[in-house]
């Protein structure tokens, strides 16, 4: 398996602490304001963020896993920290499906946990997560993907206010169609729910919902909120433009005299 190719600007670290912990091959939990990354030998094995639905919501609401199955797995294997393995061994979920969902959840939570201005970071050495081991991802790959996602959002429709504002649908233009996936999202957009709220309702990763909302706004199917216009800045004009001044008679005379003398 190879990791995605290096982006040209992949050298600016998203989190210098994460880079250092990865180099040290540290094990533990990296706690930031908007989420937590769990590391094992310097590789990311799990991530969660209050900004995005967890693996439980993605699997149950989004993936059709019976909630009882999830609860049973947490009850019976949580203390042993082997919830993931229990889900697969008990036949609740295919191994491949769990892995795919878990990977999607890691990158989704990491996007928010590593968001800029996410405050100070702390590292709790030795901490592990009860989900247990599924797959691990190189920290550098997570950082690179986080950066790609930020750029993608702005490439689609550069209005970051959309990410946190309530989603307000607009009527489609004549002949304009929406896809089934978009329709499901728009049906839940009641003018109060934010993209994060919609992600929970739909059981979809929050980043995917941000991206869908930006695309819908770009297509005019969702209102684009505008920040209040900044107050016009008054640039004072220089005096010579605003004030009529009497001509400098002495200077004009000297000029005339000089011109006549040179004739």
């Amino acid at each position: 398996m190879t990791t995605p190719a290096t982006a040209p600007n992949a050298f600016a670290a998203v989190s210098p602490l994460l880079t250092r912990l990865a180099a040290e091959r540290a094990t533990g939990a990296l706690l930031r304001d908007r989420g937590t990354l769990f590391l094992e030998d310097g590789r990311i094995v799990h991530a969660e963020s209050p900004a995005t639905p967890g693996l439980d919501v993605l699997l149950t609401t989004g993936g059709g896993l019976a909630p009882e199955r999830w609860r049973e797995a947490v009850d019976r294997a949580g203390a042993r920290r082997q919830v993931a393995r229990f889900l697969v061994d008990s036949g609740g979920l295919a191994g491949g499906e769990l892995e795919i969902c878990h990977l999607a959840a890691i990158f989704d939570a990491a996007f928010f946990a590593l968001s800029p201005g996410s405050g100070p970071s702390r590292f709790r050495r030795g901490a592990t997560h009860w989900i247990g081991s599924v797959r691990s991802v190189a920290a550098a790959a997570v950082e690179r993907e986080t950066r790609r996602r930020r750029e993608l959002l702005d490439a689609v429709w550069p209005y970051p206010l959309l990410d946190t504002a309530p989603v307000v649908p607009r009527a489609a233009a004549p002949g304009q169609t929406v896809t089934a996936r978009q329709r499901i999202l728009l049906e839940q957009a009641d003018g109060i729910r934010t993209p994060a709220d919609l992600a929970w309702v739909l059981g979809r990763p929050a980043f995917h919902t941000l991206l869908d909302v930006r695309r819908l706004a770009a297509a005019g199917l969702v209102e684009t909120p505008h920040s209040p216009a900044p107050p016009p800045v008054e640039v004072p004009l220089p005096d010579w433009m605003t004030q009529a001044q009497s001509p400098d008679v002495a200077l004009l005379r000297r000029l005339r005299d000089a011109l006549e003398a040179s004739l």
């Binding site: 995605p4 491949g96 795919i100 999607a104 089934a180 995917h208």
Partner: protein, 124 residues
């Protein structure tokens, strides 16, 4: 248990003429796993770009009012086949397998059949 890595390995070793394969998250355009490719075919870039291909086709089907699902999409180049197979599992909706094949060595019907099998293995 078949995981993403073994599934992709299978795709590139069992399928005749395979150049590279990726498992792609349609919602974000990210490759969850890639194998092969090399300098001539950047699979991470292919993953992101091909989500646009899938989105365009889905939109076209809505425009046409076709109440059907896409099973796979074939793109034929001068020297390669690119095959996109949308996953159908309960939890794997929103992901697709992407396979690039060398046209001279590939058997298209066989490749489609094998890719279908690999997809099924990931979901059982």
């Amino acid at each position: 248990m078949v995981n993403v890595e073994t599934a992709l390995k299978e795709a590139t070793t069992l399928i005749e003429g395979a150049i590279g394969a990726a498992l792609v998250d349609y919602g974000s355009g990210m490759a969850l796993g890639t194998i092969g490719g090399g300098k001539d075919l950047d699979l991470a870039v292919a993953a992101a770009g091909n989500t646009d291909v899938v989105r365009a086709k889905v939109r076209t089907m809505e425009l046409l009012g076709l109440k059907d699902e896409i099973e796979d999409i074939l793109i034929t180049l001068g020297s390669q086949y690119h095959l996109i197979r949308l996953m159908k599992g309960r939890t794997s909706v929103g992901f697709f397998l992407y396979l690039a094949l060398d046209k001279k060595r590939a058997n298209l019907a066989m490749a489609r059949h094998q890719l279908k099998k690999i997809e099924a293995e990931l979901e059982i």
